[in-house]
């Protein structure tokens, strides 16, 4: 009781006002920073629902031992025609740092120019820094159409 009387009430009132002011300023800063931070984060784009695409070129347009980039939704894919005439398709996004790969006829390999990564014609990473194989697609030739679809 005596202690309560000796403590000046002004100090605790001052502390309360300081606390009120501090939290108000904190709240104000948060109210400004939060929307600004959320603004900078891009809105999520809809995942490409496409599970198959029909390529805009016919099988005859692709010579044996060549490759061609195509659009699979918003992602790049690579269609390779083996020397035997067989078609294979993979994601064209290098598993290392995301560059777009190309077909090297001189090596019969898929190659990434950015960091010299090599993939064989099954999409396996065989040389250089890529840590994983290229995801593969299923290729169906129907008449003069090439249909590429995600593996089952």
């Amino acid at each position: 009781m005596a202690e309560n009387q000796s403590a000046p009430p002004v100090a605790s009132r001052r502390r309360f006002v300081d606390w009120l002011l501090g939290t108000s300023v904190g709240g104000l800063v948060a109210a400004v920073v939060y929307p600004a931070a959320r603004y900078v984060v891009p809105p999520a784009s809809a995942e490409s629902a496409a599970s198959s695409v029909t390529l805009p070129f016919s099988p005859d347009d692709v010579e044996p031992n060549t490759g061609r980039i195509f659009k699979f939704g918003s992602q790049p894919g690579i269609l390779v025609r083996l020397a035997s005439g067989e078609f294979r398709a993979f994601s064209a996004k290098c598993t290392h740092l995301g560059c777009i790969v190309q077909y090297r006829a001189d090596l019969s390999q898929i190659w990434c120019a950015c960091h010299n990564g090599h993939f064989d014609l099954n999409g396996h990473n065989v040389e250089g820094p890529p840590p994983a194989p290229l995801p593969d697609f299923e290729v169906n030739v129907r008449g003069d159409q090439i249909v590429v679809s995600r593996g089952a």
Partner: protein, 365 residues
């Protein structure tokens, strides 16, 4: 003649009354620079500042014609280079001055390091300087994409993919950096905003603090010179040192003009998000040693992806350099610290060798 002089004096008196010019003049008169055999290195900071001013001026001019969209950016730069009078000159000077600025900044950094100018009480000057290095690299990285050409497109794909390598927050940071999952027009507008608004503001703040600290604490004298009995004398900043600065800046301007005229900035082919990365893809030269290191790392190191190890390694090295004044306790105590010198020399050799390999190795090997 006399009346002209009197009118000038009256104007000065009027301004002095309001702005206290005499006080500013006194500060300028007081500022001096120690003279010893390493004084030449004191010019590098001012040189970097001069090149930054060139960047601000040419950058403002480029804004007049540049259009920040995936459909128009490349064409607007093409128009600037081909049609606009002296457009090629303004863009070439901007590109060359950026490169020279990074170069002088690195020399400034290493000269400060070798002269141990980061020792107390100048730790914060070092930290703000490292902040300016970070800002300068961010300027270079964001500016590289703006012409929207093939080379820059893939350099940006790789550069932003590296952000995604960081554990836990990587994916999120990648999306924020690109403005989406991929490098698109959304990335371009983002980089544009950062390049012309966010970074200049940040630079102004950090540079202001850096220059204030340099002004407040004066120039550091290398410990070795101090041990040998201190500098031979001091040079007045105004006008003696400033005049020498000006000569340096004039030479830099002449060099910029010559480089811009004889080796103008290239544009290359327009970026195509659905074309393979071209052989010989390369980042700006000051990122080359890191880019080249990533090529040599194997796919996996001790079960962790090689590039993750490499990137975290570079991140850690950067952190060590940033905190150098607090880690190097020997220098802070006034003792010799040969380890710092040897590590710095090793870093320089590493950077030079890897950069050399990056430019000379066949890209298809």
């Amino acid at each position: 003649m006399a009346s002209y002089g009197r009118r000038w004096d009256a104007l000065y008196a009027w301004l002095d009354e309001r702005l206290d010019l005499t006080a500013i003049g006194k500060i300028a008169q007081k500022k001096d620079v120690p003279v010893h055999r390493h004084t030449i290195w004191y010019y590098l900071g001012g040189m970097t500042l001069f090149l930054f001013v060139v960047q601000v001026c040419t950058g403002m001019l480029l804004l007049i014609y540049y259009r920040p969209s995936a459909d128009e950016a490349y064409e607007s730069v093409q128009f600037l280079m081909a049609e606009v009078q002296f457009g090629w000159l303004v863009r070439s000077i901007h590109a060359w001055s950026a490169n020279l600025m990074i170069f002088t900044l690195f020399i400034h950094l290493f000269s400060v390091l070798f002269m141990r100018a980061y020792r107390p009480p100048r730790e914060l000057t070092w930290v703000t300087g490292m902040g300016l290095l970070g800002v300068a690299l961010a300027f270079g990285f964001t500016g590289y994409l703006l012409p929207w050409n093939e080379l820059a497109y893939f350099a940006t794909r790789v550069g932003t993919e590296i952000v995604g390598v960081f554990p836990v927050v990587g994916d999120f940071l990648l999306r924020v950096a690109r403005g989406g999952e991929d490098v698109t027009g959304a990335t371009l507008t983002r980089f544009y905003a950062v390049h012309v608004a966010f970074l200049p503001l940040l630079t102004t703040a950090i540079l202001g603090l850096h220059l204030y600290l340099v002004q407040k604490l004066g120039m550091s004298v290398p410990p070795r010179v101090e041990r040998e009995g201190g500098p031979a004398g001091r040079m007045k900043f105004v006008p003696d040192f400033l005049m020498r600065d000006l000569v340096g800046w004039l030479i830099a301007l002449a060099l910029l003009a010559a480089l811009a005229a004889f080796i103008p900035a290239e544009l290359g082919t327009k970026a195509d998000p659905f074309a393979p990365a071209p052989a010989g893809i390369k980042p700006e030269w000051y990122f080359m040693f890191m880019f080249q290191t990533l090529k040599y790392l194997p796919a996996h190191i001790m079960g962790i992806e090689g590039d993750v190890v490499g990137i975290l390694g570079f991140g850690l090295a950067g952190l060590v350099v940033l905190l150098l004044p607090f880690l190097d306790r020997r220098t802070a105590r006034g003792e010799k610290s040969p380890l710092v010198t040897w590590l710095a020399i090793a870093a320089i050799v590493f950077i030079i060798v890897l950069t050399y390999l990056g430019y000379t190795m066949s890209p298809t090997a």
